[in-house]
């Protein structure tokens, strides 16, 4: 029975076309996501000093990369966008995905090693890329398949189990990521993180003053977080709903209705966008990873039939 449940979970539900559509939609999202994560490299002077990293990430330490290199970072960013474009178009798909992974490692390292704050925004995308790399996502809706009849033929022969497990693994990682963050709060701070409104008040207050404060101690920019931190009941609701959302996220893996999943994920998206507006947490575009919770080939078919209906009615 355990074996059947394991196989039923990991190896069913998706086709190679679903996988390819995921590659395309996720790729489009990544193009913009990279900009939000690495635009700061454009603010560096290529002729300026090469900052000696304060806390290099572990793989920079291993490789002996000690300094920020603006020229290399800019070239890496350009190549990253090109490789992401290659990935979404399915041009030398595996090579493109491998390049995207390597370049994210480099650019994230170059950004986070300066003062040593590790950001967590690429953790889910990098796992997704890892599974896309192992998958046969380039065998449909790709330049590779158009150019080579052999690849296209092999794409048609990809069985359901082979197309499903990479997407299921991505879903499991994403759900785990949210669940781990509730575990982390409980391990480090305890229940008080969720039950004490001062936790949220503290966060909102410190972030509201990040651009400076007046003599009266009020923020000079964006009064919304400052107003919200004074609403104790609302802060209590925010703390509790954070717990419900993070702890309940894994349930999405077992929600059969796409509408229910969409509703839940819209709520999570609202959470991330609010965090970006209120607390300047850079997860605003993180919801691009939520494509994994839908069969995008079904979506494509529905959209295509909708447009066919419209065109046939008008003609």
């Amino acid at each position: 029975m355990l074996r059947r449940a394991w196989n039923g979970f990991w190896f069913t539900g998706f086709s190679v076309e679903s996988l390819a559509m995921l590659r395309i939609c996720f790729g489009i999202g990544l193009i913009f996501f990279h900009v939000t994560q690495f635009y700061t490299f454009f603010l560096l002077s290529t002729a300026g000093a090469r900052f000696y990293f304060m806390e290099p990430v572990w793989y920079f330490e291993t490789l002996g990369i000690e300094r920020q290199n603006p020229v290399l970072a800019l070239a890496g960013f350009a190549l990253l966008e090109l490789a992401t474009l290659g990935m979404l178009l399915g041009y030398r798909t595996r090579l493109s995905i491998a390049l995207v992974i390597v370049l994210i490692f480099y650019l994230q390292g170059a950004r986070d090693s300066v003062t040593g704050d590790m950001h967590h925004r690429y953790l889910v995308p990098i796992q997704m890329l890892f599974f896309l790399l192992l998958s046969k996502c380039g065998r449909a809706y790709s330049i590779d398949a158009r150019r080579s009849p052999r690849v296209a033929e092999a794409g048609r022969a990809v069985p359901e189990w082979e197309a499903s497990w990479p997407i299921k693994a991505m879903q499991v990682y994403c759900a785990s990521f949210y669940f781990w963050s509730v575990l982390a709060k409980l391990r480090v701070t305890g229940w008080v993180w969720f039950t004490d409104p001062r936790r949220i008040q503290d966060l909102l207050l410190s972030r509201s003053l990040i651009w400076g404060a007046t003599d009266a101690g009020e923020p000079v920019f964006n009064p919304l977080p400052y107003w919200l931190m004074q609403q104790e009941t609302l802060c209590r609701v925010i703390g509790f709903s954070t717990f419900v959302m993070e702890a309940g996220f894994p349930l999405i893996l077992f929600l059969p209705s796409p509408r229910a999943r969409l509703l839940f994920l819209l709520g999570v998206t609202f959470f991330h966008v609010s965090n970006t507006v209120l607390a300047y947490v850079g997860f605003g575009l993180f919801p691009i990873v939520f494509f994994i919770f839908f069969d995008l080939e079904n979506v494509r078919r529905r959209v295509a039939s909708f447009f066919r209906r419209i065109t046939s009615t008008s003609s």
Binding site: W6, W10, L43, L44, G48, A49, R50, F51, Y52, F53, M54, E55, W58, Y59, E66, Q68, F105, Q108, D112, T115, G116, D117, M118, H120, Y122, L123, I126, Q127, F130, L134, W161, E162, W165, A169, S176, F177, Y178, W180, S181, L183, A184, K185, R187, V188, T189, V192, W193, D196, R198, D202, L203, L205, S206, L209, W211, G212, A216, G217, Q230, V281
Partner: protein
């Protein structure tokens, strides 16, 4: 991290057409063990994590917030060199962007390590204390933020400890606003000052 690297290499080697269902099962089990293992040992080394973002907080009655002054932190820290000359070292000289300069000025110069340090050392359970080799009362690995500030500033400009313009002192200050949660309109101010001095014993680590 060796396990993660081995898993990646294994997966790449298996990639393409040789990824049989049996191998996929093995890969999934290994991947689950590695990712959940990272959570168990509280490893936060990209691409593994235990997702500790914003997890660290302690209840308190009085809250304190620094008064951020854009022009001040972008101008940078007041530094004194071995030849007693002084000057400011800021974002332009170091060629770093605003958010890094903010952390360098308001956090590192005041001895505050990256938040990941707190995540990795706060409220450790018995298992995590044991695998880190910590004695009773020890919080985590030694925090050497001060040394790192001097190392980064000097090495960025290619300065060695014997150089006459080697930076030996770093100073910074900012105002802090205090208030109680039950009445946020009443604020009082204080000034926080950092005064870091080069320790000659650090030469060994240079």
């Amino acid at each position: 991290m060796g396990d993660a690297g081995a898993l990646g290499a294994y997966a790449l080697w298996l990639g393409g057409d040789s990824l049989t269902r049996r191998n996929v099962n093995r890969l999934l089990v290994a991947w689950l063990c590695v990712t959940w293992g990272a959570v168990l040992v509280r490893s936060d080394s990209f691409p593994l994590t235990w997702a500790p973002m914003y997890s660290s907080w302690e209840p308190h009655e009085v809250t304190s917030n620094r008064v951020v002054e854009d022009a001040v932190y972008m101008r940078g820290m007041l530094v004194t060199r071995r030849d007693w000359s002084t000057g400011y070292v800021g974002a332009r000289e170091l060629n770093i962007v605003r958010n890094h300069m903010y952390r360098l000025y308001y956090q590192r110069t005041f001895g505050q390590p990256p938040v990941t340090w707190a995540h990795g050392s706060q409220s450790l359970g018995a298992f995590n204390r044991w695998i880190r080799g910590l004695e009773a009362g020890e919080e985590g690995p030694p925090d050497d933020t001060e040394f790192r500030v001097f190392r980064s500033l000097n090495k960025t400009f290619g300065l060695d400890p014997d150089d006459p313009v080697f930076i030996v002192r770093v100073q910074a200050s900012f105002d802090v606003l205090y208030r109680r949660f039950d009445d946020v309109s009443k604020v009082w101010r204080d000034t926080s000052r950092a005064d870091l001095r080069w320790d000659e014993s650090w030469r060994e680590r240079w």
